[in-house]
């Protein structure tokens, strides 16, 4: 095998594997990407029931209702609109009223968001970036949040 042939084989193999990788990625992008929406986005964009999204905002004060069997119902708000969320399971350590939260799941036919994952940050001074942006957009960002978010402390996504 000459040098030139070897190089062709190598380049061919490289392009082949890369093509497979690209095909896998395109395929995965088609059905495993989840968009982040605030409650206002959900209302504006008419998100279809059954579409997997991430819903982010603040847990509305006084909206948390526990029922037996680890079921919980609460409302996520960005100041302009609210969406009721149901979830069954153990809530994160820092899930509290008035705190930022991200719920992943889908809307059911009745407009209730059925979450299978709840992400809340592990630090009470922390505001998830997506939630902060969404609040700024809806004009309900308070300087108080910025001050708290700017404090150099960690938050955790999980």
């Amino acid at each position: 095998m000459t040098r030139k042939q070897r190089r062709l084989v190598l380049i061919g193999a490289g392009v082949g594997v890369l093509a497979v990788a690209v095909a896998l990625m395109l395929n995965a992008f088609r059905d495993s990407i989840v968009f982040f929406n605030s409650p206002s986005d959900v209302a504006e964009k008419h998100v279809e029931p059954g579409t997997r999204i991430r819903l982010g905002g603040l847990v509305k004060d006084g909206s948390i209702v526990h029922s037996g069997d680890l079921r919980v119902r609460f409302e996520v708000t960005d100041g302009n609109s609210e969406i009721p969320v149901t979830y069954q399971g153990v809530l994160p350590d820092l899930f509290r009223e008035g705190q930022g939260v991200i719920a992943e799941g889908a809307l059911d036919g009745a407009g209730v968001f059925d979450a299978d994952t709840i992400l809340a940050k592990h630090d009470e001074t922390y505001m998830p970036k997506e939630v902060a942006d969404a609040l700024k957009k809806s004009g309900h960002w308070k300087d108080d949040y910025a001050q708290r978010a700017a404090m150099p402390v960690g938050g955790v996504t999980k």
């Binding site: 095998m1 084989v9 990788a21 990625m25 992008f29 680890l70 820092l94 999980k158």
Partner: protein, 661 residues
């Protein structure tokens, strides 16, 4: 006084780094030995001053000097000494100090131990190392100074983020950084080779131990971080495909590829241009990892502060170093001579296969991690790319890699015999088939493909054993002869077998946990009984227990076998930290063989019911055990005398030390 001393030492280190970054290169250009010989003492001196700065910061933490802003924000005098020490790197400024300390440490190591390096290569490499150091010293002094004072010193600090108050944190960040920053040596040598426009097989021999050392630390660092997330976060997961985890996985994948291509370069003088590119890419991915984690573009436990100037500074460092290195590569790489020929079916061919798949897998992780950032910057749409994406891209690319892995070491250099290799792997393949059948018969539920995953894992492990069996000729010649062959074998052969066995073991753990782990989530009251897998747990209630800077609520569970025999108790804990009004979950683990029972508690509700997460994790310890075996493989390989002795003279060394394979 101490913090000022530290800051002053860091400024001096910056000055030394600037001299080290220029003078030796001028010397190498003008062939001035005096200028070139300045590099090693400068590297050592720079390290000493960085070490002084780091120790000064450490002293502020040990002494709980809350007049230092950084200490005030991240420490508390009630914290045990170990956590006061680890909180040095539990924040942005301190972790950057750790980063540059390790960078300077590696520079000093090259200066001290690189006595057999050619003068110009050593001078250029140390100068490149100093460019990186200077950039990061400047970054710390201008945007992330850990020595800033507060005019009115508070009496008490704000405490370290409670989830970081854990022994795992003493070990995970330094290991990870040793890995990240260790790859800077390969980068510096690659740039030095490009500056000289000359490279030979000896280059790989000098660089490989550094790559190997960095890879070992990164392996342990990633595994440590994974285990920390597993027991500390209370979710029972070992890998979340979180961008921050991916940031450490990418350099690991590229570094693994580099490790293998450097072998080809060392043994066969082939793949030089590719190896140089991989050396540049590996450290570039380490820098990108630092950028992702430290700039605040990602929000996670690792993004300590969101400060745009820092992000922009690191982005500038990134563009200058990666862009500059790649431009230099494009310009100078064509000067490098091509190496030896080989057939597609050969050891080289197998290693090229390894490189293709590892870099492609790395590329999918790269795209999955950065695509959301790019999309948000371009369109404003916020998306999350989660585990499904990585499972369906990374997974399929790793399967061929695993299947081919056992063949590699059995093929000869230059031209291999695939049939003979297949014959020798017959036993391994049969063992794997038995394992698949057993998995189908014994396990119910779980994905249909899971038993095949077990099969692949067993094949990889048995393949690694096959290599050793073949080489020692065990069962075919008398035991004493086998023993002497085993002892006489190059350590790097043992290293390869260990590392490959380790990845097989880790895969077995991952497949078992993912497919057959059981989970039970419930709100329970005192006296409740839960059955999980073959165990029966009784909840005996909760009690309070005070700690130094926290307060525990402990749940007590009695664990019985299905037969009723008591085998122990578990005490998962809710830990509250008053200084930050924060609670963490301390999961309780019970190890049964390599499997684990796992309980974490939630907050009790109004009627006193306690939410619990209970997992049975079959073979879960193999995941980290496998990583540790890989680390041992690296250590064995590093102790190979062929890597330590000789190789001072490029051309001669190769002829004299070429292995008889």
């Amino acid at each position: 006084m101490t913090p000022e001393l530290g800051q002053y030492a860091l400024m001096l280190a910056l000055g030394l780094a600037l001299i080290q970054a220029t003078m030796p290169i001028v010397g190498a250009r003008t062939n001035d030995a005096v200028l070139m010989n300045m590099a090693p003492p400068l590297a050592v001196a720079q390290f000493i001053f960085v070490a002084i700065a780091f120790c000064a910061l450490g002293e502020c933490y040990v002494a709980s000097d809350f007049s230092v802003l950084n200490v005030y924000e991240n420490s508390n005098s009630a914290m045990p000494l170990i956590y006061r020490l680890t909180s040095i790197w539990g924040n942005h400024e301190g972790s950057m100090m750790l980063w540059v300390s390790i960078l300077a440490f590696f520079g000093a190591l090259v200066a001290v131990f690189g006595t057999n390096l050619p003068l110009t290569l050593k001078a250029n490499a140390l100068a490149v190392q100093a460019w990186i150091a200077a950039a990061f010293h400047l970054f710390i002094l201008t945007t992330s100074n850990p020595f800033l004072r507060i005019p009115d010193a508070p009496f008490e600090g704000r405490d370290l983020n409670p989830i970081l108050q854990d022994p795992g944190l003493a070990f995970h960040p330094p290991m990870l950084y040793l890995g990240y920053v260790g790859f800077s040596i390969a980068f510096s040598f690659a740039i030095a080779a490009l500056l000289e426009g000359r490279i030979d097989a000896a280059w790989a021999r000098w660089v490989r131990p550094w790559v190997l050392g960095a890879w070992m630390c990164l392996t342990l660092g990633i595994a440590g971080g994974s285990y920390w997330a597993y027991y500390e976060l209370g979710w029972g997961g070992f890998w979340f495909w979180d961008p921050v985890e991916n940031a450490s996985l990418m350099p690991w994948l590229a570094g693994t590829a580099l490790l293998h291509s450097a072998v080809v370069m060392e043994k066969r003088a082939a793949l030089k241009v590719w190896t140089i590119l991989l050396a540049i890419l590996t450290f570039s991915l380490s820098l990108i990892g630092t950028f992702l984690v430290r700039s605040g573009v990602l929000t996670s436990v690792h993004a300590f502060a969101v400060d745009p100037t820092r992000g922009i500074f690191i982005l500038a460092i990134l563009i200058v170093f990666i862009g500059g290195a790649l431009a230099l590569y494009a310009w100078r790489a064509p000067l490098l001579k091509q190496g030896g020929l080989f057939a597609p079916i050969s050891r080289e061919g197998a290693l090229v296969f390894n490189n293709l798949f590892l870099t492609s897998a790395c590329a999918t992780v790269f795209v999955g991690t950065l695509y959301p950032l790019a999309l948000e910057a371009l369109t404003g749409d916020k998306i999350s790319v989660g585990p499904p994406f990585f499972n369906s891209t990374f997974g399929p690319l790793f399967i061929p890699l695993m299947l081919v892995m056992p063949f590699g070491p059995l093929l000869g250099w230059k031209r291999g015999d695939i049939l003979s290799a297949a014959q020798r792997l017959l036993a391994a393949a049969m063992l794997s088939a038995v394992a698949i059948a057993a998995a189908f018969a014994l396990e119910h539920g779980g994905p249909v493909l899971a038993p095949f995953g077990v099969g692949i894992a067993i094949f990889v492990m048995a393949g690694a054993v096959t290599d050793i069996v073949e080489r020692t000729m065990i069962l075919r010649i008398p035991f004493n002869a086998v023993l002497s062959r085993a002892i006489g074998m190059p350590r790097s052969v043992w290293g390869t077998a260990f590392a490959h066995f380790g990845i097989g073991a880790a895969l077995l753990g991952i497949v078992s946990v993912t497919a057959w782990g059981s989970e039970h989530i419930a709100a329970i009251k005192q006296g409740d009984v839960i059955d999980i897998s073959h165990y029966r747990l009784t909840f005996d209630g909760t009690f309070d227990r005070p700690g130094p800077n926290y307060h525990d609520v402990v749940g007590h569970f009695t664990v019985r076998r299905a037969s009723g025999e008591i085998i122990g108790s578990l005490e998962p804990t809710r830990r509250t930290f008053p200084a930050r009004n924060m609670a963490t979950t301390e999961a309780a683990l019970m190890t049964r063989g390599v499997s684990q029972l796992y309980i974490s508690l939630g907050d009790p509700d109004a009627n006193g019911a306690v939410p619990v997460r209970l997992f049975f994790k079959p073979n879960v310890l193999l995941i980290w055990g496998g990583a540790f075996i890989m680390f041992l493989g690296g250590a064995l390989s590093l102790s190979d005398r062929r890597l330590r002795i000789g190789a001072p003279h490029p051309a001669k060394a190769k002829a004299a030390l070429a292995p008889a394979e």
